[in-house]
């Protein structure tokens, strides 16, 4: 059984089909990249997979459970328990320190544990910056805090929306390395990106166009060599 399965999922805004009968399977421990031009439906797909929005039609099975008809409260519980979110703009709370930002996710999940939050920061190489405020951190460091916050509750899926979109090349490399490490540890990763260099290190890439899966690419054995295999 796949960890995540989308069956004929559509999202319609008025006359606009942001997603048009998309089907997709993501296996546990897989690293999937979602690419596509602006307006192709990447963010809509991320919102639906991340339980931030509801599909107009279709089924979304997360760990075998259909979440497509859940109410807002149930979707909040799913986000809290099963999904770790990473944003392009980081979205750290400006008046909380790095460790407190990580603890914020613990607070709404269960109980805040500063020691555990510090360990999460250590995993992303920021133990020495734990007491710094977001304004005192570089973009790359803020994104790593964001990764630590996404990891802290041991989610089943890490969902990253343009995680390197606001980073320079050096920091982009650090974040990609971090993803590689997480993948090796068995974390399921879905990364929405414009950046082919970020997509090419993923196990598999799907490319969206006009709300549909245009084609899919598999990076065999993580060699960095992309093989074009399907076309719709």
């Amino acid at each position: 059984m796949s960890l995540l399965e989308l069956k004929n999922v559509s999202k319609v805004y008025g006359n606009l089909h942001a997603l048009d009968h998309v089907s997709l399977k993501v296996e546990k421990g897989e690293w999937l990249a979602i690419m596509g031009p602006s307006g192709s439906g990447k963010s809509t797909m991320m919102n639906i997979i991340g339980a931030l929005d509801k599909a107009t039609e279709g089924e979304i099975l997360l760990d075998g459970e259909d979440i497509s008809r859940k109410n807002a409260r149930a979707l909040t519980d799913i986000r809290r328990d099963k999904i770790g979110l990473i944003f392009q703009q980081f979205h750290l709370v400006s008046y909380l320190t790095a460790v407190e930002n990580v603890m914020l996710a613990q607070y709404y999940h269960s109980l805040p544990d500063e020691k555990e939050a510090l360990e999460a920061l250590e995993r992303v190489g920021l133990a020495d910056r734990a007491k710094h405020y977001p304004s005192q951190l570089s973009g790359g460091e803020q994104q790593r805090v964001c990764v630590a916050r996404a990891l802290i509750n041991y989610p089943e899926i890490i969902l990253a929306d343009e995680p390197t979109g606001n980073l320079d090349e050096a920091n982009e490399e650090i974040v990609v390395e971090l993803f590689r490490k997480l993948h090796l540890e068995g974390t399921t990763l879905i990364v929405v990106t414009h950046n082919p260099e970020v997509a090419e290190v993923a196990q598999r890439t799907i490319v969206l166009r006009n709300g549909r899966v245009d084609h899919e690419m598999i990076n065999e054995n993580f060699t960095g060599k992309i093989k074009h295999i399907t076309l719709q």
């Binding site: 919102n47 991340g50 931030l52 008046y95 914020l104 805040p112």
Partner: protein
């Protein structure tokens, strides 16, 4: 974590929180001042309104009946009198504390050397009484006729030779060519006396044709020892309501509980009733113009203060509404993030409301103490007395501040509840 978030949010938004606290402080200070003055204003206003004279007159029952039948005014044509030795009993009724002043009147006709006759009235000027309660009271027309202008001085009852002194009305003084310091020879039905005019008063009314002397002097001249025509009483009263009006018509029509309520409330009718109980064969009646005016002024003053309180609270609510809404808008990404990582609406609402309520508490306490100060300023500038802060003001202001804060936060909370993470986290 919750406390840490509240504390840090305070530090981060201290300017906005200061504005909210200031808004609340302004509203609660006005509410405290107005409520304090309103709860204390009845006594203060009553004291002020005493300057307009007595609000109760007491006459013998027969005089009252004749007066009602023939509309002959207050002249004693019945030949019946009240007893002077019962005057002290007026300060023994249930509402004795509310009787702030009273004075008896006894009138007789006297002849003057010019051949003219005049009405000479005996009364108290500053009559000293030691009451059974241990209190002392100086009562008389010196305070009941505070609007008189006197050329010379008021007759001082407590000085030696007061029974040989008189105060003459300005019309009579003009007619007889009298001024302060002159002597006047008066001949009554029983005695004649030489009186020293200590003052010429101008009342602006019929009293300007009278001669005022002490009660003993008038009684001696007219042979009316121990007799009194009428009594004027100035009492602190509660504005009439339906119960008081019903009782004024017929106290026997009241039920037992209504009677107790009426008797134990300082309505003018209940005080009149109690005076009639202690002064034999008397009829006490309210001077309606004065009593009604007092009631109306009190009611209107209280209404004005309630309106100011409501307006200040509405103003505070609008201010809070703007400030909290602006705060939530400013923090929409932070709130969206909290929702995205699993915070339910009640948790975020609780966080925002706790911040606002803590700020309101600080502002409310500061405003309360400022309001006490405002109340004292109002008390001293308007009533020349301190305003007593009633304990009831504290919970009332606390509830008002709480309600205003919650009501003012409603639009912001609605915005917060409707905020969708997808709309703020992707910058759309």
């Amino acid at each position: 974590m919750f406390v840490r978030m509240i504390a840090k949010a305070f530090l981060r938004q201290w300017k906005k929180m200061l504005m909210i606290a200031f808004t609340i402080a302004l509203g609660s200070s006005l509410a405290t001042a107005m409520l304090s003055v309103m709860m204390d204003v009845e006594d203060k206003m009553n004291q002020e309104l005493k300057a307009y004279g007595a609000n109760i007159t007491v006459v013998p029952k027969s005089t009252s009946v004749i007066s009602d039948l023939y509309d002959v005014g207050d002249e004693n044509i019945s030949g019946n009198y009240l007893k002077e030795d019962e005057l002290g009993k007026i300060k023994t009724i249930f509402w004795a504390f509310n009787i702030v002043d009273y004075t008896p009147f006894i009138s007789t006709q006297v002849s003057l050397d010019s051949g003219n006759t005049a009405t000479l009235t005996g009364t108290w000027f500053n009559h000293h009484m030691d009451l059974p309660t241990g209190e002392a009271l100086d009562a008389g027309i010196a305070s009941l006729r505070s609007w008189w202008t006197v050329d010379g001085e008021w007759l001082d009852e407590q000085s030696d030779g007061s029974s040989e002194c008189a105060m003459v009305g300005s019309s009579l003084a003009k007619k007889e060519g009298l001024s302060a310091g002159d002597m006047i020879h008066v001949t009554g039905s029983k005695e004649e006396k030489n009186l020293k005019v200590v003052g010429v008063f101008d009342s602006g009314g019929e009293e300007d044709d009278l001669i005022y002397v002490t009660v003993d002097t008038a009684q001696a001249l007219g042979g009316l020892e121990g007799k009194i025509d009428s009594i004027e009483v100035s009492a602190l009263t509660t504005p009439d309501n339906e119960l008081a009006q019903k009782a004024a018509r017929d106290p026997s029509s009241l039920s037992v509980s209504q009677y107790e309520t009426w008797y134990c409330t300082a309505y003018v009718s209940s005080i009149c009733y109690q005076i009639e109980e202690v002064v034999t064969d008397s009829v006490a009646s309210a001077v309606r113009q004065v009593a009604d005016s007092e009631g109306q002024i009190l009611n209107k003053t209280e209404l004005l203060m309630i309106l100011i309180t409501i307006l200040s609270m509405v103003g505070a609510a609008l201010g809070i509404c703007n400030l909290v809404t602006a705060s939530v808008m400013e923090r929409s990404q932070e709130i969206g993030l909290m929702k995205a990582i699993g915070a339910h609406n009640p948790a975020i609402t609780g966080l925002v409301l706790t911040e606002v309520l803590c700020t309101a508490l600080i502002g409310g306490v500061i405003g309360f103490y400022a309001g006490i100060g405002f109340a004292q300023i109002i008390g001293h500038s308007v009533f020349s007395a301190s305003i007593q802060i009633r304990p009831m003001v504290v919970p009332v202001v606390a509830v008002l501040v709480g309600l205003v804060t919650l009501i003012g936060s409603i639009p912001a909370i609605r915005m917060l509840l409707n905020l969708r993470p997808t709309e703020v986290l992707h910058g759309r």
